[in-house]
């Protein structure tokens, strides 16, 4: 399933299988990859906002 093994509980795996089919994913792997990418993109976005904030705070006017 993954290059590196990740342990998920059985009930969650069952739900992933069920919903990946309902949502039209070609496989549970594709569903999990998509879900993880979506979450990681959010975190990447937050990081870049922090970078922006840090840069703006470099102005003496902004504490």
């Amino acid at each position: 399933m993954f290059g590196a093994r990740i342990k998920l509980d059985k009930e969650l795996i069952a739900r992933v299988r069920r919903y990946s089919e309902i949502a039209g994913y070609s496989s549970p792997e594709e569903f999990i990859t998509h879900a993880l990418e979506k979450e990681l993109a959010k975190l990447d976005g937050a990081e870049s906002e922090e970078e922006i904030r840090k840069r703006l705070r470099g102005l003496g006017y902004i504490s």
Binding site: E49, R53, R55, R57, L59, G60, Y61, I62, S63
Partner: protein, 654 residues
């Protein structure tokens, strides 16, 4: 990865970089506008009342000479009275509606993300492989100030123009004979200025929120320390690691002295001593990225502490465009060697963080001020005729951090410590007065000398947190009021928020069709704004009982048009002595509407613009009356017999 960084890497790697602007054609200096010369000294933050006061005490003899021979008057500043806005008015003769700079900070309504208003960096489109190396391609940096600079018109009429350290002119316009960019020019990291502080003390500053710099641990053992200097990220490497280079410090076993080694550079420093400019090279796959920094040895025992200035774009070999022609930045090194290219070099952030104490900060600021005075005098000796502008920013930055020494009623006033510093700010006024004196000695009768400032100054005692005020009155709603504030509006429920504050004076409506999650129908905009303005003007500070806001300026009140959609719907003019909170400016929430200003930033000017006028003095009356900043460039151009500025086609947009 910013385009600024990409340009830097490209240039450092020796790859071709497309010039942002063509060099101006060299004029003969006198041209069709005749043999007149005009010199303008821009003293950022010089306050009208303060000049009057010190002049009456006889401390400003040279400014007094100007007042007698040519005139001395308050100069109405911009709305809002912030430096990038005001200097853009001076450059273009247009107000913010025409030049498009409304605040230090703007926001993108599509993403609700704030950004610095005067320039924008575009990331590289791609990385190109050359052998086993990759290089960024396609990055750029763009000046966002609109409108025509007055010197462009001078050059068109054959008047050679030297524009040195002009704010809101990065990257330089490319249309003056000689230019060096000023405020708004970043350090090599693309920020307004990010210092580095190295300490061997474990967990130093661990619980403190440091802005404007980074704290790094130093491995210090038996008199030797090894550390790493960090540059910008490399966009073409996986994970974009920061460029870096190592340095070493060898501490004398007995004396408070250390040897600093960075690449091939070595300096011996005593504790409390600043180095000269040290060239630093960040290695790249092909070539290197040249920067410059000064080092300050703060302590060697029991802990080793070393402060490093923000890495400057090296004027000897600029990795970004900072001058016109490109070689002018290096030419300006003649009198002093390397110099600060960063737009606002006085390190107020290191003072705020406690990395530099007050005396150390003042030593750094004094060095900065002295270096630019020497540079100015060198420029003045070489300037033959035409137009010369030179900018001095030292007074503004020191006034920001020491104003309480002039105001015993300030909540941060320290009766024991502050009286000793009460003469620092007046001393800088005297220093600038001496610059005027030196100029008067060197110029002939055919030269007009103008001294001007972008805004005045006053004490900043009370803080108003605009977004808290909006929240209290139901104009702004949080998603979860009990959640710790994540900042940057990230806890705001935009589906129920009608207005928000951003920047130091800006108030925006959450307008449908403009903001990402706008809810206020355009038809309701005016009525809602008027309602908010009425309530703001009726708000009293509970601590003083005095009005907190004395000016509510609607965007429609700008005389000029063209870029109104960029700016706020309403500019909040805080009462003299009150300013908008720096935290609220970036969408942070503090839990209180008003507070005492206890920060290391006791003086300011971002208030009701009518309360903080700048100054205008000249050695002879100008041929045109000047009441406000927007009048000044037209009057300067008129000194050369040029009838109209801004030009008719620019005025048509009004």
């Amino acid at each position: 990865m910013s385009g600024v960084r990409l340009r830097r890497l490209l240039a450092a790697a020796g790859l071709p970089v497309v010039a942002l602007a063509a060099l101006a054609g060299c004029s003969a200096g006198r041209g069709e506008a005749g043999g007149r010369s005009v010199i303008v000294l821009g003293f950022d933050g010089m306050d009208y009342q303060m000049v009057r006061h010190l002049m009456a005490e006889g401390r400003l003899p040279n400014l007094a000479r100007l007042a007698e021979s040519g005139g001395f008057a308050p100069l109405e500043t911009s709305v809002p009275p912030q430096s990038p806005v005001a200097w853009s008015e001076f450059i273009t003769g247009l107000d913010a509606g025409g030049h498009g700079i409304f605040d230090f900070v703007h926001r993108d309504p599509a993403t609700m993300t704030p950004y610095l208003s005067t320039s924008r960096a575009e990331a590289a489109e791609r990385c190109v492989g050359v052998g086993r190396w990759k290089f960024p391609v396609g990055g750029s940096v763009e000046l966002l100030r609109r409108g025509q600079p007055f010197w462009e018109v001078l050059e068109e009429h054959g008047v050679e123009s030297w524009i040195v350290r002009m704010p809101a002119n990065f990257p330089p316009s490319g249309t003056a004979s000689r230019e060096l960019s000023g405020m708004g020019t970043p350090d090599i990291l693309g920020s307004p200025g990010e210092f580095a502080f190295y300490t061997s003390e474990l967990f130093a500053f661990e619980d403190e929120s440091i802005s404007g710099g980074e704290i790094y641990p130093l491995d210090y053992w038996q008199g030797t320390a090894e550390g790493t200097l960090y540059g910008p990220p490399d966009p073409c490497q996986p994970g974009e690691p920061q460029l870096s280079t190592e340095f070493s410090v060898y501490v004398d076993a007995e004396r408070p002295v250390a040897k600093l080694v960075v690449g091939e550079e070595q300096r011996i420093l005593e504790v409390g001593e600043w180095s000269d400019w040290v060239p630093v090279a960040f290695p790249l796959p092909l070539g290197e990225l040249p920067v410059a920094a000064r080092f300050y040895l703060k302590a060697v025992r029991p802990e080793l502490e070393l402060y490093v200035t923000p890495f400057q774009i090296d004027p000897a070999s600029p990795a970004m465009p900072i001058s016109t022609p490109d070689g002018f930045a290096a030419e300006l090194m003649t009198p002093t060697g390397r110099y600060y290219t960063q737009g606002m070099p006085e390190d107020t952030k290191a003072l705020e963080a406690g990395v530099l104490d007050r005396d150390e900060f003042l030593a750094q600021a004094e060095f900065t001020g002295r270096q630019f005075i020497e540079q100015y005098e060198w420029v003045l000796d070489r300037f033959e005729s035409g137009f010369l502008f030179y900018y001095f920013g030292n007074l503004d930055q020191v006034s920001h951090v020491l104003w309480q020494t002039l105001d015993p009623g300030h909540p941060a006033y320290d009766a024991e410590r502050d009286p000793r510093y009460a003469d620092v700010i007046p001393g800088i006024y005297e220093q600038l007065d001496a610059v005027v004196g030196a100029t008067l000695e060197r110029i002939g009768d055919d030269t007009t000398l103008v001294v001007m400032s972008d805004h005045g100054f006053t004490s900043w005692r009370r803080v108003m947190h605009l977004n808290e005020w909006l929240k209290e009155r139901g104009y702004l709603v949080l998603e979860d009021p009990d959640r710790p504030d994540p900042g940057l509006f990230r806890n705001v429920d935009w589906s129920r928020t009608r207005a928000y504050g951003l920047g130091l004076n800006g108030l925006y409506l959450n307008l449908a069709g403009r903001e990402r999650d706008g809810i206020v129908p355009p038809a309701e905009r005016q009525a809602l704004l008027e309602q908010i303005a009425r309530e703001l003007l009726a708000t009293a500070d509970p601590a003083t009982g005095e009005p907190a806001v004395t000016e509510a300026f609607f965007s429609e009140q700008y005389r000029d048009r063209g870029y109104l959609e960029i700016g706020p719907d309403l500019q909040v003019g805080y009462a003299k002595g009150t300013r908008g909170s720096g935290k609220s400016a970036l969408g942070d929430f503090t839990g209180e509407v008003f507070s005492d200003n206890l920060e290391d930033w006791p003086g300011d000017h971002c208030m009701d613009h009518r309360t903080v006028p700048g100054v205008l003095l000249s050695n002879r009356p100008l041929s045109r009356p000047v009441g406000r900043l927007t009048d000044l460039p037209g009057a300067l151009v008129a000194e050369f017999g040029i009838a109209q500025f801004p030009r008719a086609d620019k005025l048509a947009a009004r």
